[in-house]
Structures are given as structure tokens and as C-alpha cells.
Symmetry: C2
Subunit: 448 residues, 2 copies
């Protein structure tokens, strides 16, 4: 439901951005939003879920997704993937381990991502694998390994092997380990991406949307560029006097990712870092580039989601969601929060899960959690739990508000248990039964 | 900003519900929304803020309110009060102690209420006074004393004497101490209300909207009546076979409250206790009665705010706010949350502050906090803090979203401090500097 004045949905879908060599059959000139309308190039072998969907093939991963979300049929999943409105981040290598396929897209349940990762001075591989299991226990649907220190390669490998959920990374983080940023070349970028794709990473955040032309807009901001990937690439462009290499190499990156069906999470390197910078020229200019990159990735057969802000006043959240839907033609929007106020450090899991609820209700498909340590330090185990729970609240509340069938059943069962004063059932139906029980037991002596 | 399809604002205000004896002057037949249009009865002495406003008098309390909220002039405050869109809960007795006048209404900042109170088995007067100071420290704009045990009278007296913020109570709680509910008579009700008014209570929650005719609707619910006041009155009506005494005595109650300028917080005894019961026939039927009671209270010169739900799915929050605005002619809406999912006991300060943000953005004027102990036990000191902070987030974020002048300044200052990596200033500008500092210091050894 759109508030009046919001940008209308795009009239295009991924069917409007078919790869070269695909031929629209006669008689399907206007009715081309389905597999029957298209003739793939001779001998074409689909690798990505998007390619299979375009050929009308329902993959085992689509079947599994529909099993996990019974309000969808495998065919609906396939059609959503074909339209570009849904992704199934499932690297073919990770599928050979323990990955349990899931989907991200507005027709499905709202998903939650948890970030983790070792830094140069903390944590190691075992600890990261433990954090992975912990995140999954508390409801993370995907996990991003944002390690910037330790043995990145070994850690990534261990996480992929142990994970039942899709793993995302920001490949540029590892590209600058052991070398100066200014030494980063096109070759190293492509090699690193291929290396991580081969390891089985399911989705890559690539900040290809920050262009040289946008950097002027950033000067007007209170807090410039807060995305690490965005900052690195901005610095690289200034040092080299050249365009963003991720943008320049886009088709080559697509070809590498296609080989393993790695999904894009096109990064928003210019996401606002404070309310004052929200929905500004820099952010909007980049969003237009993200739309262009979406189209180009679809033409290469690669699955796409798009990343979003960040810090956004509550009244601008809907507009941000609707604008992305227009410009990126319905590609799933994966947003970080957004925080709706800046003055509550220590409580940003709350400030941001409010924005996230509204974002999901208005169109975001996946919410990247924020922990209480955001802006202050590195999240520990309990911070991860608090972040996950705040975001499960946001995702679940949005799904109920959107009327996804069956989503309110557990709420109603809990309400009935409450009405019956059935405490045991009340606890069992709670998202975190141990905490609910403990809070109740604190007062056991004084229970009236 | 209304989503299309929402109920339009009422065409009436408190100017349409003037007391008997007030005469509309000639020439003001259609232009009667100001003091100049009216002739008060001869010798009329205003007691309530509403009466003063109707006479065009700017009281010292209105001056103080405008001082505390510089985006309003004293005259604007007066006009909002006269229209019924704003209240200044300031019992004349409490004003003789330390009350610092504040206002509640959509033209002003969003306010937060914290509930506290001793139960039969816990806490005493000293502890309650300590909780009062603690709530105010963490940003409570008003406090409700919901005591149901201990020496209620002494405790209430101590709280009023010590409080700089308005104090609200639910008088029926004390009416049934030492007697059976069925022994409650009209006389006892009026005596108790007069007693508490004389003590200096600033606003009363009176559940006069639950009528006998509504009780049938409650049978269809998953969780019946969850409001304590509502349940007590429903039981009384069933026992006595008579109409709700609060409803029957309304004008007499008004007359008592007028003498001390106690403000109404008309209770929603049929507020939903679970998502499944939200916006149902029982709730809406009661809301219509709340509209009628608002009109009747205005006719007696008494200030009015109206209480609202409770548990409401995220997509129904705006409708609930806009409907109250229509039916209660813009009287300030004071809402409890609402919770937007039921399955997170232990985290209901979060589930509800999301609903509260949306409620405030769409029209609620005051938010009653919910603590992590909601549904589970009695809040302790840290629970009170967590509840207050979650609600300050909601109120502040809504005020920014509504564009109230100056509300984003501190956010922008903090963003600048963040950009400058000025940690000390970052902490200082935080709502809870100690927590922010402690979280940051946890990682001091590993700060990079």
C-alpha cells in the first residue's frame, strides 16, 4: 500500500534485460514475461537460478524454497526469480556442502542478515564459526563474513563449510590485505573475486555504484562516506584519477560470478551516515547507478539484490523503498536498518529495527541487523543475540502487517495461552523462552 | 500526512462543545473558534486551563509550556488548549508543590509516560519515590502511580509532593482496597475521586467507555478484556445488572475534577490484548463512547485526553490514530505501545516502541512506555530505564519525522562529532553517555 505521491513501481522486470543471443519468439512481442516467449542460444546451459528460471526450469533449490515457505509454490518461486524480484543465493560450491537453500524477495518472508567477522586484533576462526552457529540459532537467515584480520582465507573457508545459511562477503576487504590500496589493480580484483567465488561464497557486496562524478556531492555532507567499501574505492579513484574499477569491470565480474551462481548484493557505498545526509544527491545519484548495474547484471544472467541505507528519518523510509523499487525494477532491496535517530548510541539495535520494520513493510526484502555496539565497538556474543532478536521482531511484524498467510498463527496461539494463563505454553511459544521464563521467575516469590 | 483511505479529521473541536450558559456573540455564527466569539456566564471564574483558554487568558502554565517548547508561543498553546487538541495536566494542588507545567498535544513534542506503583507484595513508598526520580532521569514526561498494594494513600501523597512531572492514577484501583468490588457504590466512587483530586493528582484514567452493550462483543475475542479497570467495571456491571457507574456519573465526576483542574485520560477498558483482537467491534464501539465522553467533558470545562491500544498490527496503526482523531475531535491520544507482534515476551519494550513510533508519527501525543517485563513480571529499576529509553527513541524519532523545528539539531551535532572522530563529544551528545562510553571502552585495548 503506497502513500500518495510515492514513485510508482517500474514497468520493467528482468525480462526486459535479457542476455545477448536470447530471441523473443514470434507472437510474444508484448507478452514476453515468461519462459515460453524466449529461445535461448543454441546449446545454452543454465548455471544460475535466474537462467534456469528464464528457461522455465524449476530447480531443486526452488522446490526447497517453496517447501520452507508453504505460501509459495515452486512455480511461483521460479517466476519471481525470472522476473528478478527474488534471488536464491546458492553458490554451486556451497550447495555441495550443507547449504539449505533460501530465498530473498518481497513475495517471501522478510529475511534477516547478521554480520560477523574477525578483526586484526580480535577473534579467530573457531570463534567465528561459533558466532555463525549462534547467529543462526537466533534467527539469522544469512550471515556476512566481514573479517578484516586474522587468516581471512581459512576463516571464510571454515564458515562456508559449516554454514547452512548463505554466506556473503565484501571481497574488497581481502583484496587490500598485505598490499597498499593504491596497488590494487584490475587483475587483482578479478582474481580475488574468482577465488572467493570458487570457495563458495553465496553473495558479494560490490560497491560499483560510487562513481567519480558522485564524489563532489559528498562534500556537502555532514559525515561524508561511511561505507568502508565505498571509502576505499573513493580513495582509489582519487589516487588513480580513474573511474571505479568495479564499475569498469562489471561485465567481467558478472562472468566470474555467473560460473558459480554468486548473487550480487550491489553495495551502496554512498549510504548516508546520519539523518542529515539521508536521501541526498550523493545517495540518489548512486541509486541511479545501482539501477543501471542491476540491468547489466541481469543481462549477464546473474542474480541481483541491491543494498540500501543506513540512517533515514522515519518519514523518508517509505520513499526510499519505493524509489529503489522504481529504479532497480523490483530487484530485492537489502537494507541496513535504517536508524531513525542518531543520538542513541548503545541502543542502535532499537533505533534501527524501528526503521527496518517500516522498510520491510514498504518493500525491503532483507534487513541487515545492527547490534547495540554499532558505532562503538565490536559485537560480542550477547550483542549478536540482541541484534538478531530486534531484527526478527522487525521482520516478523512486517510479515504480519503485509498479510503473508500463516505469519500471525503463532502470535494468536500465544495470545490464547496468555488468556488461559498457561505459562508453560506462553514460554514455549515465545521467541526466546529462556528469557521469558527467567523474567517471570524473578517474581515467582511475589506472584499474585 | 495521511495514507489515502484514512478517516478525515473531525470538523469539530472543543469550541463545538461549550458549556451551558456560554453565549455565542452576534456576528460570530460561523467564526466561533476563538475567545472573542464567546460571552461567559456572568461572574464566571475559570479554574481549568481549558476554561482560561476559552476566555482568551494566557495562564502562567501556558507561558511555561511555551518556554519549554520554544517552537510554540504562549498564545499558540492557549489556542491549542481551547480547541481541545492540547492539555496541560496541572492539578492546582500539585502546582503549589513542585510541578513544572508541561503539555500534551500533537502541536508539541511527543511525550512519554512511565508507569510505576507498589503491589501488595513488593515495594514501599520510599522505593516508589526513588523510581519516580529514576523515571524522570531517563526522560519520563509524566508518571502514573498504579499502586495496588501497600499504603496507597501515603505513597500517592509522597509521589505528588516529590514530583516535578504530572502524576496520573487509575482511581478505581484504590476504590476496591479493603472492600469487595460488588460493594462499590456511586457514593464511594465520587468520594474516592474527590479525595485523589484534593491530593493533587494531575490526571485520572477513568474507564467510562466500557458499556454493558459492549460486553457481548468481547466474547468473540481471543483474550477478552485485558485492562484491569475495564475488567473490574465489566464484572461490576454483570454483578449489578446496571450500566457502568463511571459512565452514569460522568457529569458529576467532571464537576469534581474541574474544581482542581484534573485532566481526563479516558481509559480504553476494551483495548485489544493481542493482535487478533485489534480494531475489532469491541474496541471500536468503545472508541465511539470515548468520543461522546470527550464531548461531555468539554461541556463541563474539563481537559481531556483519550487512551488507546495496546496490541495492533503495524499496518493498522495509522488507521487507529486517524480514527481516534475523527471520533474524538482531535483530543490528544495517549497510547500504550502498541505492540506489533505478540511472540517476543521479554522484548516488549522493543515490539511496542516500533508501534509507538508509528503511532506518534500518525497522531498520538503521548506514549505510555512498556518495559521488558511486560506480561511477565513487575519492572525493576533497570527495566524502567530500558522502557524509558525505548520510548524516548520512539518519541524523538517521530518528532524528527514530523519536522518539529530544532528536533534534529542534536542528531546533527552528534553526526558531526562522529565525522570528526571526537569520541568525548560523541558520548556527551548521546542520550545515555555512560552506556555509550562503557561499550566503547570494552574494546579500548583492541581499538584500531
Amino acid at each position: 500500500p503506497d502513500t500518495s505521491g510515492m514513485p510508482a513501481p517500474s514497468e520493467k522486470t528482468a525480462w526486459d534485460f535479457m542476455p545477448e543471443g536470447w530471441i523473443k519468439k514470434d507472437g510474444f512481442e508484448t507478452d514476453y514475461h515468461r519462459a515460453e516467449a524466449w529461445q535461448a542460444p543454441e546449446g545454452f546451459q543454465p548455471i544460475t537460478q535466474l537462467e534456469s528460471a528464464r528457461m522455465g526450469i524449476t530447480t531443486p533449490q526452488m522446490e526447497r524454497v517453496a517447501e520452507r515457505e508453504p505460501h509459495l509454490t515452486p512455480e511461483q518461486v521460479r517466476d519471481e526469480v525470472a522476473a528478478g524480484r527474488m534471488v536464491i543465493p546458492a553458490n554451486t560450491v556451497h550447495l555441495s556442502h550443507q547449504l539449505d537453500p533460501m530465498c530473498i524477495g518481497r513475495a517471501s518472508l522478510t529475511k534477516v542478515n547478521a554480520n560477523m567477522g574477525a578483526s586484526p586484533v580480535s577473534s579467530g576462526t573457531d570463534e567465528e564459526v561459533e558466532k555463525l552457529h549462534w547467529s543462526i540459532k537466533w534467527g539469522a537467515d544469512t550471515v556476512m563474513d566481514l573479517s578484516t584480520g586474522g587468516d581471512l582465507d581459512e576463516c571464510r573457508q571454515a564458515i562456508i563449510k559449516n554454514s547452512t545459511v548463505p554466506i556473503g562477503t565484501v571481497p574488497i576487504y581481502s583484496m587490500i590485505i598485505g598490499r597498499k590500496l593504491s596497488d590494487l589493480t584490475h587483475e587483482i580484483i578479478l582474481e580475488s573475486i574468482e577465488h572467493q567465488a570458487k570457495q563458495g561464497v553465496d553473495y558479494f557486496t560490490i560497491h560499483a555504484g560510487v562513481l567519480r562524478a558522485h564524489l563532489d556531492y559528498v562534500k556537502k555532507r555532514l559525515i561524508g562516506i561511511v561505507s568502508r567499501g565505498g571509502s576505499l574505492l573513493a580513495k582509489w579513484m582519487i589516487d588513480h584519477g580513474e573511474e571505479n574499477p568495479m564499475y569498469v569491470l562489471w561485465e567481467q565480474i558478472c562472468q566470474v560470478m555467473r560460473q558459480y551462481d554468486v548473487t550480487f548484493s550491489i553495495g551502496d557505498g554512498l549510504r548516508p551516515g546520519g539523518l542529515a545526509d539521508a536521501t541526498d544527491q550523493a545517495q540518489l545519484a548512486e541509486l541511479c547507478t545501482l539501477g543501471e548495474l542491476t540491468e547489466r547484471a541481469w543481462r549477464q544472467g546473474v542474480q541481483v539484490m541491491v543494498e540500501g541505507p543506513g540512517h533515514v528519518p522515519f518519514d523518508q523510509v517509505e520513499y526510499n523503498m519505493k524509489l529503489q523499487r522504481t529504479i532497480c525494477h523490483g530487484a530485492p532491496f537489502y537494507v541496513l536498518g535504517p536508524l531513525i535517530t542518531d543520538i542513541f548510541p548503545g541502543y542502535d539495535h532499537i533505533t534501527s529495527c524501528i526503521g527496518a520494520t517500516s522498510a520491510a513493510y514498504h518493500g525491503a526484502s532483507m534487513l541487515c541487523y545492527v547490534t547495540p555496539k554499532e558505532h562503538l565497538g565490536l559485537p560480542k556474543k550477547d550483542d549478536v543475540k540482541q541484534g538478531c532478536i530486534a531484527y526478527k521482531i522487525a521482520a516478523h511484524a512486517a510479515d504480519i502487517a503485509l498479510g503473508i498467510p500463516g505469519t500471525r498463527d503463532r502470535d494468536d496461539e500465544l495470545t490464547k495461552a496468555r488468556a488461559a494463563l498457561n505459562w508453560e505454553k506462553h514460554f514455549e511459544l515465545s521467541f526466546d523462552p529462556d528469557t521469558a521464563r527467567a523474567y517471570h521467575d524473578e517474581d515467582l516469590d511475589v506472584d499474585t
